[in-house]
């Protein structure tokens, strides 16, 4: 195939996935959350159980006025949503759905995904700092503190998996995966899961947004499409983190008939993880700021370090 055409085709399909999967997750959250609270959720848009609610929301957001506060740092303020959103798109491009179904197969995929998704923090910090609003500033600071402290356990738990597989390639990790890893890497998987939810700033780790305390955190001053981009980046983040968790810890496309059903397995596993993330948000109250830091430094980091040591010892012993 013509290389240029192939690049365009791959980019467009990644973009399509990037636009569709977060909407599905968002709609699932609408409905699951509503029913968990004894409500019905959206019922009108699109006719059947409000399936087009998020499309309608997008249409509404597009029509809204795009306001930039007078005291805001204009360029930083306007750029922030893009900085929050694009890293997830980049990260999504290298996550393999099946051995062949991947936007771009990068050798050091793990490193690439972690580096890319960490850039998203900057978007929040920029938005919080540039809004010229005390709530936004507080939220931005909280976001920075939270994301920095949870980045460490996240990276450590991923390092453990990479060490176990002996490769930094995401498809390589899935190939090396064995069902026993579910047990062996369990502490690391739990650390990764908790840290990933905290990275996404979803409940119970939504301290930076904390709408009952600081209005909407870094998003306070945003309206219209820019606000929608922040929301989209949150759901895109859920998609990326669920897919990453599936690929790293749940063996991606491994499963019955994985030759033909590989992508289905990956997507099904990450759908379960997404629902779990939604479920946690509905069930648990928000952590206080100090509890949040305590959890990261006193629980997650030690557990991740122990897991890393355990993996290292095992790898050294088994390779002898």
């Amino acid at each position: 195939m013509n290389p240029v055409l192939e690049v365009v085709l791959r980019s467009v399909s990644v973009l399509a996935v990037f636009l569709v999967l977060p909407l599905i997750v968002g709609q699932t959250e609408h409905k699951v959350m509503a029913h968990m609270q004894g409500r019905l959720g959206p019922m009108y848009a699109g006719g059947f159980h409000g399936w087009a609610q998020l499309v309608a929301d997008a249409a509404k957001f597009i029509q809204k006025e795009d306001i930039t506060p007078r005291a805001a740092d204009r360029w930083v303020f306007k750029l922030a949503p893009a900085v929050a959103l694009v890293p997830y798109l980049v990260a999504l491009a290298v996550i393999p759905i099946s051995p062949t179904l991947v936007g771009a197969d990068v050798d050091a995929g793990v490193l690439f995904v972690l580096a890319a998704s960490a850039v998203g923090i900057l978007g929040l910090l920029m938005g919080g700092w540039a809004s010229a609003n005390k709530y936004a500033l507080l939220g931005g600071m909280r976001a920075a503190a939270q994301l920095l402290s949870y980045e460490l356990p996240l990276v450590l738990s991923v390092a453990s998996v990479a060490l176990a597989a002996g490769t930094l390639s995401l498809s390589g990790i899935v190939d090396a995966w064995h069902p026993l890893w579910l047990l062996w890497q369990l502490p690391g998987a739990m650390v990764f899961f908790v840290a990933a939810v905290a990275e996404l700033q979803r409940g119970p780790f939504d301290m930076p947004i904390a709408d009952s305390e600081i209005v909407m955190g870094p998003f306070t001053e945003y309206t219209g499409l820019r606000f929608a981009f922040f929301l989209l980046s949150e759901y895109a983040g859920i998609v990326v983190m669920s897919l990453l968790f599936t690929v790293l810890f749940l063996g991606g496309w491994h499963g019955a008939f994985s030759d033909s059903l590989g992508p289905v397995w990956t997507l099904a596993k990450s759908a379960v993880i997404s629902v779990l993330i939604i479920w946690m948000r509905v069930s648990w109250p928000r952590l206080r700021e100090d509890q949040l830091q305590r959890l990261a430094w006193l629980v997650l980091v030690p557990v991740a370090l122990v897991q890393l040591a355990l993996t290292a010892v095992w790898v050294v012993l088994s390779s002898r």
Binding site: V32, A34, M36, Q37, G38, R39, L40, M43, S283, W284
Partner: protein, 191 residues
């Protein structure tokens, strides 16, 4: 509904025991159980909500009973009742009789944009001219249209539910007691 209350009681009992983890798991179980249960939502514009028959939706006026005594207007905490009346002289019905005067109601209006639905006017009315109706769908685009004049207030009257039945062991209603009294013996009362 009883199902729901029952499960709430259960979970309240459950919170007594347990450290960190059981509490978290219990939260997950509670939400999952709610997910599996039918919702209590009524889709209002499509389906009418169930309201108790004595709901305080709107105040209806039975104009014939009103004597313009102004009690309701004076008791109203936010002064949302407007009453105008004038005196009318009725000619004597019998030869050499005395002329009588009575109040005629010109205007009776309730401003539902001010009304706080306390129901004091209904309670205080000595002649049962004001009644609660459970109707509630009278929202307006313009706030000025929430000022209901006596014609509009009268239109709510057919929606007022009949008064609740008395207790079996209660005394007879005043009206029946009065009707059962022996007639006064005064000759040819006014018809």
């Amino acid at each position: 509904m009883t199902d729901h209350e029952h499960s709430q009681g259960e979970s309240r009992k459950g919170t007594k025991s347990g450290g960190l983890l059981p509490g978290l798991v219990k939260g997950l179980i509670t939400t999952a159980r709610t997910l599996g249960r039918p919702t209590h939502t009524t889709e209002y514009p499509d389906a009418q909500p169930y309201l108790p028959p004595r709901s305080q939706g709107v105040i209806a006026l039975l104009e014939e009973n009103c004597t313009s005594c102004m009690l309701c207007s004076r008791e109203c905490p936010d002064w949302c009742i407007y009453i105008d009346s004038h005196k009318e002289t009725l000619p004597a019905t019998t030869e050499g009789g005395r002329e009588r005067q009575r109040n005629v109601l010109d205007r009776f209006a309730i401003d539902f944009s001010l009304c706080m639905y306390c129901g004091i006017c209904v309670d205080v009315c000595p002649f049962d001219a004001l009644h609660w109706s459970p109707e509630f769908e009278y929202a307006e685009v313009d706030i000025k249209d929430l000022l209901h004049e006596k014609e509009r207030l009268g239109q709510w009257m057919p929606t007022v539910p009949p008064p609740p039945a008395l207790d079996p062991s209660s005394a007879e209603p005043q009206e029946i007691t009065a009707a059962n009294k022996p007639a006064r013996t005064a000759p040819e009362a006014r018809s």
